[in-house]
Symmetry: C2
Subunit: 249 residues, 2 copies
């Protein structure tokens, strides 16, 4: 870490509902960092990925400024126990100092990353959601099963603190499900979430909610037929069901 | 328990997705018992509540027959780790022998009950969801805060086994939310789920999915404003989003 280093923050928002994974339905705040080493075809956060947009819109903030903004919007809108560091890929950055400041201010820290970078500061976070990208993303060739396994060394069940690694795979089609299956069978003891993909374009007549619910039905029916998924959790994106693709939710 | 005692089973089904509470999104099987001491205005399982319907449709099964049916449909459709005992109110019955048989057959047991009866066999279940009924149910006068607290003695964190009590409150309106709030503030350390109420009747033009998603949005926005709910989980009924009000889902 470079003292006084600033980080490109695209959004700080909350309180809202975490829509996915192990904390689905729980109140949390979000800090979205700019920058990603992937370019997923269905990315819903391209404003935090495209370098031109980051250059244009990022606020470069010091760690204590990030915490101050969180505290400020908590006074306005209500406090959460949890803050989720998202992106882009927050693993692009050395967030050691940000995590330190957040911990001092009593935030529980969740992180969402696709798993390409494994950083020391992650050891101090409470929940790490690693979401390998399947064939539909176009980033499949970057996947490395062994590297994914290395995340599990952060799982520390003997500690009284929850510091857990979970896997989440977004599913758009059969190929994604086969991809998820391979991961599930390789690491069967890791909490595993199948998340229905939300398309960037859809049949507007019936609406996005209908589309997602159909997708949830189809994914559930497919996964229920396969005993590899007998102990996984299957979820739609709850924040999209509530608020659509509104930014800052 | 009377040896050879039979129990009124309305449905045995699965594998499907648990739509609510602590296991929302997880695969499970269900056994629905007939009989309930409540008559909630919005009950979605009246076929397991109305005495005439129970008399007409219940299959009276021995414990080992219940397990055999579960095993049989697992061979057909896939096995779950979990079986949920639901109703009606399964607390109406002494299910000691059923729980014993299920345990022998390696099922993890979840129970859904409104909390009017506390039975010894519950000690041997893995997850107990107690769902007090708020004002919209018309059963509010039956609620007893102290009796609710007695369920918590079943929480055994020192055991390696998960045997957990969680609270789930169905929310249709502001009064229900105030009711939930009181419970939350009285027992702040119990995992707590707010569940969007699914109406028996709704605007058919936009459809049930739309209705539930709007309800989820509204409930989330209300609950996010109230710090009493800062660490609860807010969920829609996922099985209804997927399959509507189909029986056997």
């Amino acid at each position: 870490m470079i003292p006084g280093e600033k980080f490109p923050v695209m959004e700080i928002f909350g309180p809202t509902i975490q829509g996915e994974g192990a904390m689905a339905g729980k109140r949390c705040h979000f800090v979205r960092f700019g920058g990603c080493d992937y370019r997923c075809s269905w990315c819903d956060s391209m404003h935090a990925v495209t370098p031109e947009l980051i250059k244009l819109n990022a606020q470069w903030l010091l760690p204590h400024q990030i915490v101050e903004r969180l505290e400020y919007i908590s006074i306005l809108g209500g406090r959460s126990q949890w803050v989720t560091l998202s992106g882009g890929n927050p693993g692009m950055w050395d967030l050691t100092s940000v995590v330190e400041e957040l911990k001092k201010a009593q935030w529980k820290i969740a992180v969402e990353t696709q798993g390409s970078e494994r950083r020391d500061w992650l050891e101090h976070c409470d929940l790490i959601t690693v979401s390998p990208k399947g064939p539909s993303s176009g980033m499949h060739h970057r996947f490395n099963m062994r590297a994914l396994g290395e995340w599990l060394t952060m799982q520390d069940k003997s500690s009284s603190r929850l510091r857990q690694v979970v896997f989440k795979v977004v599913i758009f089609n059969q190929e994604d499900l086969a991809f998820a299956r391979e991961i599930r069978l390789t690491y069967p003891f890791v909490p595993f979430y199948l998340s229905v993909g939300t398309p960037l374009e859809f049949d507007t007549e019936k609406g996005l909610r209908h589309y997602i619910c159909e997708g949830y039905k189809n994914l559930s029916e497919m996964a229920l037929k396969d005993d590899a998924f007998s102990d996984v959790t299957i979820l739609p994106q709850l924040h999209v069901l509530a608020w659509g693709q509104e930014k800052g939710r």
